[in-house]
Symmetry: C2
Subunit: 272 residues, 2 copies
């Protein structure tokens, strides 16, 4: 998917919501556990109920790998379901991969070509040749971890390197990589005020923003500091939507939560 | 597996060799491609031929994920084969994972409990709460990326943070984490002289050293600067061993290469 198509979808749906499909069998409705593939059945119901209110879905691969072959099969079925029934949806494999060149190429091929995701999250620690293999794929997007929303972000990401925080060095350096226009960035919402500085460095890039809701970030603050002329934001919510209820009404409860966020986003888009 | 058992195996086998099981279907002997599970058949033959000369095997997950469900099945069969037939072998899932707390816990459970690996490689960028969930598992080992062997290592890892290179900050900081005694570290062999400094910070930890051979590092140099009283080194070789031949004699060719390295290691161990 091109960035232009994504921006167009955001304007059309009046939403920049991304829904995290982090399926935990301990948290989904009990009645699904007897189905042949509870993870996929859960995802399908959530997607059917919420797709009008979001522009992206983001399965985190950990939740699928935790179930071995069955988990991997559920991930494949989920992305195939999305690509077949909702090709206008932007898909994110939240995998946080990164390895030496030929190995990163294997990961890129797995997520972009074989599974058919539009984007994948990648860790920057191993530098240029660990990320560039992902950037080679046309109309695919590499979402680089810059400033994450967890406590541990302060261990290394905010440390000063030559007078500038590490995450800013990551932003600056990554702009010099080949096909850097295929980069997006993960920027946690718990530090919304940092977004003003970040926009100085990468004014035009899309930011994937976790941490709104469960982790305490404010949607309005994020938009105030992070929005650009293309909107340039994908706000992720996982638990707040998909576990809004763990009863038979779970899909409808998720729909209401997604709709609530979409309405809030539509209002914020008016200020553009 | 305890660290003491691993050290004991190294002394017994006079080897600190780790063999990387990075199976690429384009590089394995053609006659295997018609078997039901070429990746597992290849691994089984390599393991059967080389296990006397090494103490560890390290499948890189990228090479398995690249084949979807079949790849994941081959990974499961490989680790099960190792744990069943060679329980004295130390196993490493080279996965380079790392995510927020509850998600890292899912990865740790997947690799340690479900698959049954002794260790997993983890990226440090997201800090303490992304790594500690891996450290909770008794007699399991978390191999943290410190200084990798690729060109991109110089992008961020060697940058100065408060007067000390980032990878040293990673080493120092990680020592303060809960259950830090379950940490090992990835340190690339292409910068062997850095090992002297590294041993000042982590004198007792095991180091997993890629980059000997194909990537240009010298085994003798690595031992000179990196060995400690417990040996403290696992030297990885992948392509140099498993692709020593791509004909019918591939397993025997791998055996000869592994044996060659083991003999070299036995000589170096005498200097301890």
């Amino acid at each position: 998917m091109t960035k232009e198509f994504l921006v167009d979808q955001i304007r059309k749906k009046q939403s920049f919501l991304c829904i995290g499909l982090d399926v935990d069998l301990n948290k989904i409705p009990k009645h699904l556990l007897s189905s042949e593939d509870p993870i996929f059945e859960f995802n399908k119901a959530i997607i059917d109920a919420t797709h009008e209110y979001c522009v992206a879905y983001k399965p985190n691969t950990a939740f699928y790998e935790a179930h071995g072959i069955n988990g991997w099969a559920a991930l494949e079925k989920t992305i195939t379901y999305l690509n077949t029934n909702h090709p206008q949806i932007f898909t994110i494999a939240d995998a946080k991969r990164g390895d030496i060149g030929n190995t990163s190429h294997m990961y890129a091929k797995a997520f972009f070509d074989d599974l058919g995701f539009d984007s994948v999250t990648v860790a920057p620690y191993m530098g240029k040749d660990s990320v560039e293999p992902f950037l080679e794929f046309k109309d695919k997007h590499t979402i680089l971890l810059a400033l994450t929303s967890n406590e541990g972000a302060f261990d290394f990401q905010t440390k000063s390197v030559d007078g500038l925080e590490m995450y800013k060095q990551v932003l600056i350096t990554s702009k010099t990589w080949k096909n850097a226009n295929n980069l997006m960035y993960v920027v946690g919402a718990t530090k919304a005020e940092y977004l003003a500085d970040i926009r100085q460095i990468i004014p035009n890039s899309f930011l994937l923003v976790p941490g709104v809701g469960a982790q305490g970030g404010s949607l309005e603050e994020v938009c105030k500091y992070g929005m650009n002329q293309d909107v340039g934001l994908l706000i992720n919510s996982s638990r707040g939507i998909i576990y809004a209820s763990n009863e038979a009404d779970f899909a409808n409860a998720a729909k209401l939560k997604a709709q609530e966020l979409q309405i809030e986003m539509a209002l914020l888009l008016q200020s553009l």
